[in-house]
Symmetry: C2
Subunit: 353 residues, 2 copies
């Protein structure tokens, strides 16, 4: 028997990338195979080709339904389907869990910190979940853990192998559909999507680079990679990218993040800039968190010779009215022109952790 104090026993090992394909088999009958879009005009401007995997059109409006459903279906396969589910979230995980629990007919309770927009609260309730508002993110986590101790199944937003495997199916689908990206970009909150994305490309297209995008104002993952230790915020950092308001990555996701090519830190102006431009070019509602991944791609493109192919995972499209007002406060579609703007905002890309 291994002693509990042995560090190696507490370090999570990486999963076999095959888990992404297993997850895909499990969840695909219930979920959309989301489309891939591109903009000829954007490609012209950048001198590269950018392909967008549109998780905005996924059930509940974001990739989160993939991980949540995969976790519950894996439990069901193992004959361990829980009688109730509990979760905490500052973003789309709430709706993803509510949707997945409803799909399997299990009652769900979701704790949301009060910073979560009223429309996300309403949408989570609309999927049939019980919603409880807490003052802070920390209290939401603690309340959920108390419910878990009392017997509910705690479905974490990223710190679970089956959640990571589920999130990776977005990238898997794109690669199965024939994408051959030089680099793949995804936003990072807790690191579930980025970890799954890294696994998916290891399985199908290992030569692709994988980059995370994180708000400069909420750069705990970038700091963690730079410092080699997980940095944790005392409470949710302020950023328009609400999917990145997580307090910290987990040892489990950190192990994958360390294998990516790095994290690009994005300013709030860039979030707005790309949320506006993607609305204009793609005619789709793109969350600031997702626009961030495009910002990272644009910055990476500037370091490359023309003609590279990029895959940007547009993680979701759930945007509250107040966030819309923030996005569109200033007109960024007119001036300055795209490439000038990009150069103006180029700051150092974080080194590989």
């Amino acid at each position: 028997m291994k002693p509990l104090s042995k560090p190696a026993a507490t370090l999570p090992s990486l999963m076999d990338p095959q888990v992404i394909r297993d997850a895909q088999k499990r969840i695909s009958p219930f979920l959309h195979r989301t489309p891939i879009l591109e903009s000829a005009r954007l490609n012209d401007w950048l001198g590269h080709r950018v392909r967008f995997k549109m998780e905005t059109f996924q059930k509940a409006g974001a990739f989160k339904s993939r991980g949540a459903l995969n976790a519950l279906l894996a439990l069901k396969e193992a004959g361990k389907l829980p009688s109730s589910v509990v979760a905490y979230s500052s973003g789309n995980h709430a709706q993803g869990v509510a949707w997945a629990a409803a799909a399997l007919g299990i009652p769900a309770r979701i704790y949301l910190p009060k910073i979560v927009s009223a429309i996300k609260q309403q949408a989570t309730r609309a999927y049939g979940a019980e919603v409880i508002i807490t003052p802070t993110r920390v209290e939401a986590e603690e309340a959920a853990k108390r419910d878990a101790a009392a017997g509910a199944f705690l479905l974490p937003p990223y710190d679970l192998d089956d959640v990571i495997a589920g999130q990776g199916t977005a990238c898997l689908e794109a690669l199965e559909d024939g994408e051959k990206p030089d680099a793949i970009f995804a936003p990072i909150g807790g690191g579930g999507l980025l970890s799954g994305t890294w696994l998916a490309k290891q399985l199908l297209y290992p030569q692709a680079e994988v980059w995370g995008a994180e708000p400069f104002n909420a750069n705990d993952a970038a700091r963690s990679l730079r410092e080699g230790n997980i940095f944790r915020w005392p409470d949710s950092p302020k950023t328009l990218a609400d999917g990145a308001r997580t307090l910290a990555v987990s040892p489990r996701t950190f192990a994958y993040l360390q294998r990516t090519n790095g994290i690009v830190e994005i300013t709030e102006s860039e979030l707005c800039y790309w949320a506006q431009w993607l609305a204009h070019l793609l005619k789709c509602v793109v969350e600031p968190t997702s626009a961030m991944a495009m910002a990272a791609a644009a910055r990476w493109g500037l370091t490359q010779k023309p003609g590279r192919e990029m895959l940007v995972i547009i993680s979701g499209g759930n945007v509250a009215a107040e966030t819309m007002r923030d996005i569109w406060k200033e007109d960024m579609l007119l001036n300055p022109p795209l490439t000038q703007f990009l150069h103006q905002y180029v700051i150092e890309i974080s080194p590989k952790g």
Copy 2:
């Protein structure tokens, strides 16, 4: 020889609906076959099924590319491809003409009244057209007519058979794709889209009702139908639905409008309400002009027994930053709930003209 004063000679006759299929054959190699979307949640709420034909994803972001391209290709077929094109527009026609002229390698000059957003001006220039700003819509029309007198081909926004036939291809595609709507809804500016839509359903599904949607603040078409004569604004009426800022329908389109089931007049609040809800439910950028068609569908639905099928033509997705700020000024996603809101805004549907 008929005397010029004989009224029957000046009244346009209706086209054979077959022209829509001819137009489709002509333009389809160059344009997107746009997707049809729906929202299960919206259907639940309304008690009807609403299918959206998404012209937001058409070339240049709106159905206007269809009519402009059809007009130019029909001239080319007749060996009369003009050496230059001129147009005036307060909305998407500018971009549609600029795109179509560029596709055929013809120089285009577009007169835009200064109320047109800077981003639409920029987009029109980006397709290679020369853009000239005029103080008013009336002056834009007059300047374009002077150029036409000097030899340029004036491509009008709606008062041309080939433009009408091109616009009808959006509805034709939806019906070819298997839609069986009880009623079809489209916005009305000058009436080109609605006329083409009526022709398309006559060809493939004559039992469908066809309804136009017009802003209450810019209801010249509804007034024209009620009065039996074309009503004309002295200058562009004020409404968030910029595609409906036309001064008047033409005798040509009026002849089709009189055969539709009528026009539903929509308040500015309803425009915002549905622009917000369609962004939320469809994750697509929907112009206020297009949201208006959904508003008309929702109102019609209230007059019907549950279970009706509606086809809503989402005409475009070109929205300026200032319009985004107007749309999202007030949070209409939260309160009051959908059906309550609808009842609150029900006003009389215009009788058939």
